[in-house]
């Protein structure tokens, strides 16, 4: 003989005991994975950025408008800087989001801090993207011969 015993607790919980009613899906897992994948890419992108701008040639003393114009004449550096901007901003935003979640306890404080963070992120990412794509080496005020 066999008795049909229902699996314990499955689907039979009083809703007030269900802690994960509002599931956030796999968002936190995707965010965790993103930190690792973007982290590896950022090591390459930022080390390359620092080496090209500060270590070779005349280093920081050579950085001016003409230096930026020279770099962004090359689509590789445009894509490099664009990828760095997006990945670093998303990586940094998710890191600060984690820190807010850890230390801000009052719900209103959390909402405000994260609201400010997300607005800053959107503004900076859009501004940086716009600057890379609309850069004009012969902008008014540039006096080099090539722009005459």
């Amino acid at each position: 003989m066999s008795a049909d015993i229902a699996a314990p607790r499955s689907q039979r919980l009083d809703p007030k005991y269900v802690r994960a009613r509002k599931s956030r899906g796999s968002f936190e897992m995707v965010a965790w994975l993103f930190m690792r994948l973007s982290g590896v890419a950022l090591v390459v992108l930022i080390f390359g950025h620092l080496f090209a701008n500060l270590m070779v040639g005349d280093g920081i003393t050579a950085i001016d408008f003409g230096f930026v114009a020279g770099k962004w004449a090359d689509p590789v550096w445009m894509f490099w800087d664009l990828a760095m901007l997006w990945l670093a901003m998303l990586h940094g935003t998710n890191g600060v989001r984690t820190i807010i979640n850890d230390y801000a306890e009052k719900p209103a404080t959390r909402v405000w801090l994260k609201g400010i963070l997300y607005v800053a992120t959107v503004v900076i990412v859009l501004l940086g993207t716009m600057v890379i794509f609309t850069f004009d080496p012969c902008i008014a005020g540039n006096t080099i011969a090539a722009c005459k």
């Binding site: 982290g39 090591v43 270590m55 920081i60 950085i63 001016d64 408008f65 800053a120 940086g128 609309t134």
Partner: protein, 126 residues
């Protein structure tokens, strides 16, 4: 926290301090990133505006700040790679402490090389 909770495997040891260092350097780098996108955006205003702000970065005092920033970036980068190994490498949790000393050794080597080059350029001796 009671005194009884000190002297655990985590608290006050390599794991905790590398975590503290990762958080602090992360926040510092993020704040600089916000400023850095804004200063670079001046190329869209005028060459003069951009060059004027870049001139402040060439001040020797600022070069010390840049070196500190790069020190934060290099630690965050190497410790981040260590975290990935702790998470994904089968032996990662076993060797996390040895890997932290490796991170610090690589950090020192990288920062000595960077500081010599960057500071000699910034202080005009190159």
């Amino acid at each position: 926290m009671s005194k009884a909770s000190s002297g655990t495997l985590y608290r006050g040891r390599e794991g905790m301090w590398s975590w503290v260092g990762h958080r602090i350097t992360g926040v510092v780098i993020f704040l600089f990133l916000l400023v850095h996108v804004l200063d670079t955006s001046l190329v869209r205003v005028s060459p003069g505006a951009y060059d004027a702000v870049m001139a402040t970065y060439k001040n020797p005092l600022m070069a010390l700040g840049e070196t500190a920033l790069v020190a934060a970036i290099v630690f965050h980068a190497f410790n981040g790679l260590r975290l990935i190994l702790v998470d994904f490498w089968k032996q990662g949790t076993k060797y996390h402490r040895q890997m932290l000393w490796g991170v610090l050794a690589l950090w020192v080597v990288t920062m000595v090389a960077f500081s010599i080059r960057h500071l000699s350029i910034a202080f005009g001796g190159h």
